[in-house]
């Protein structure tokens, strides 16, 4: 099975406090730790496990600037065969549809049976997989937390739905799935793994390689635009306790007892 996995380089929210930059045009990017989008990492692991079972190959693709190359390489080190980077100044400022347009062009240069994305990324939209599937006229399932290969034309997939229940579907190939965290246990990538792919060639494709109109992507093509970042003025929020650990503990115990929190 030929599998393409779409990945994104994102600020790691587990490692960073995200703050709005002075003018609201961006977030503070100094000292941010970047990593591969967590959902995408599960998607790559799933692709590798499928290929381990039924044969084929895994290709990683990412839209981003040249810094995204390290993410493509890191995911290749997990055991993917190839990587592609989609980079062009004209891609900057793309909305979800713009990103899907770029990925569609990349998909059409290959011959894939299955295309995976993460269920969502740092902007929490969860849109690119569904858009890509619709553009390609392929069947789609989102928030997938189980994949079983039935034959080379069909998969059985579980979607995570409300209440922790699972919606089982049969889906024809080729198809597009967005992958939920927890579907597997992504393998650890060590320094040795990274070294193995250090010299792997990662082709970089721009507007002309993808044969797309420059005004269909990037800022020019975006009909959904982020105007600014801000921190909303919310209610009072929590009463923040202060003092030493011991003092805070005493205060909290008092509050918990009053609320029936300590039996």
């Amino acid at each position: 099975m030929e599998i393409l996995v779409c990945v994104k380089r994102v600020p790691d929210t587990a490692e960073n406090e995200i703050e709005v930059a002075g003018d609201g045009n961006d977030i503070e990017r100094d000292d941010l730790v970047y990593s591969v989008n967590e959902w995408d990492n599960y998607a790559v692991e799933e692709a590798i496990q499928i290929v381990d079972k039924v044969g084929g190959s895994v290709t990683i693709v990412s839209v981003g600037d040249e810094d995204a190359e390290e993410i493509v390489r890191r995911e290749m080190a997990m055991g993917a065969n190839d990587g592609i980077l989609l980079t062009d100044d004209a891609f900057e400022g793309s909305d979800g549809k713009g990103i899907a347009t770029l990925l569609k062009a990349a998909v059409e240069k290959g011959n894939y049976d299955l295309i995976l994305t993460g269920a969502q990324a740092d902007d929490g939209a969860g849109q690119v997989g569904g858009m890509l599937a619709a553009m390609l006229d392929l069947p789609y399932a989102s928030i997938v937390n189980k994949i079983e290969t039935l034959d080379d034309k069909k998969l059985k997939v579980g979607r995570e739905i409300e209440g922790g229940n699972q919606e089982m579907n049969e889906i024809d190939l080729p198809g597009v799935l967005s992958i939920q965290t927890g579907i597997n246990e992504p393998r650890y990538v060590g320094i040795r793994g990274i070294r193995k792919v250090a010299s792997a060639e990662i082709p970089v494709w721009g507007t002309s390689d993808l044969a797309i109109a420059a005004d269909s992507v990037g800022e020019a093509g975006a009909r959904v635009k982020r105007v600014d970042y801000f921190v909303p003025e919310l209610g009072d929020g929590a009463e923040i306790l202060d003092g030493t650990m011991e003092e805070m503990s005493d205060k909290l115990i008092e509050l918990l007892k009053a609320k029936g929190g300590i039996k």
Binding site: Q127, G163, G164, E167, A238, L252, I253
Partner: protein, 324 residues
Amino acid sequence: MAGQIFAYITHKTGKADDSALELATAAGKINPDASTTAIVTGAGADLDAVCNEVAKSYKEVWKFNHDALAYPNAEAIRKLLVAVLPQDAILLAAHDTFGMDLCPGLSIKLDAVFAADIVDIEGLEGNILNVIRQEYSGQVSTHVACDITNGAVLNVRPGVFQPDDSGSAGGQVIDKSSEVTDLTTGRRFLEIVEAEVGDVDITKEDVLVSVGRGIEDQDNIEIAEDLAEAMGAVVSCSRPIVDAKWLEKARQVGTSGKTVKPKVYLALGISGSFQHLGGLKGKPFIVAVNKNPKAPIFQMADVGIVEDLLDFVPVLTEKIQEGK
């Protein structure tokens, strides 16, 4: 002039989802004078009950009754909506697992813009609809401008808009079932597999000590278990802990886990994503311990402690044990 507004209603066992009335409010924020049409799809007798319920809040309800719609397969419903929606339509849906499945692809097929997980709507300026979203797990908000010249598909976060429960719309139900055409898709629904039952039922507990990513390591779960034991509470968790297989799924609080109604909820190292908070009902007394002062959980909590839980919780546990 913006297009006609529609709301896709999700429902289960003859009852509309809570989001049905929230979407009516959201539609009013796009255009206070709008006459919004609810779309209800399904099969069988349950459907009429849902339509009648929804007609109290929407002037018009389009009913699509067809065997192929018995289970809400987003791929089939997308085909239906592409066929029946007028040009430039604005379609509202809940940002739940169905809306996430349906709406991005639908926007492409309608050539309409898509905005996901909207938390507020500021209104229309000409053909630009201004909405508010959040990024980075709710740590920052963004103003987003959508050009709705060709229509829009808008996913609205459940629970953020007040439900329109005035019940005064006196709406009319229009049976559009005859407009249902071929709904065959490349994805076929098989069955629902119910969540596994665990050894504890966190939905029945009054006091929960809940752990999130801030616990950092499986070995540290013990720190929360010790506190829970000292308090007479039970340990629950957020999604990353289940993903890492450190605790069983039955202990997960959130929209993709259990909905709990405790009196007291201790959130240890939990950032407080809306999916997590969506599983927390009944207005419990919330205590948040998190080393990130920007964590959204502090907006929801009654009491906050800005410390690394790994440092603070052992001190708290010892103090409680001393007091006994």
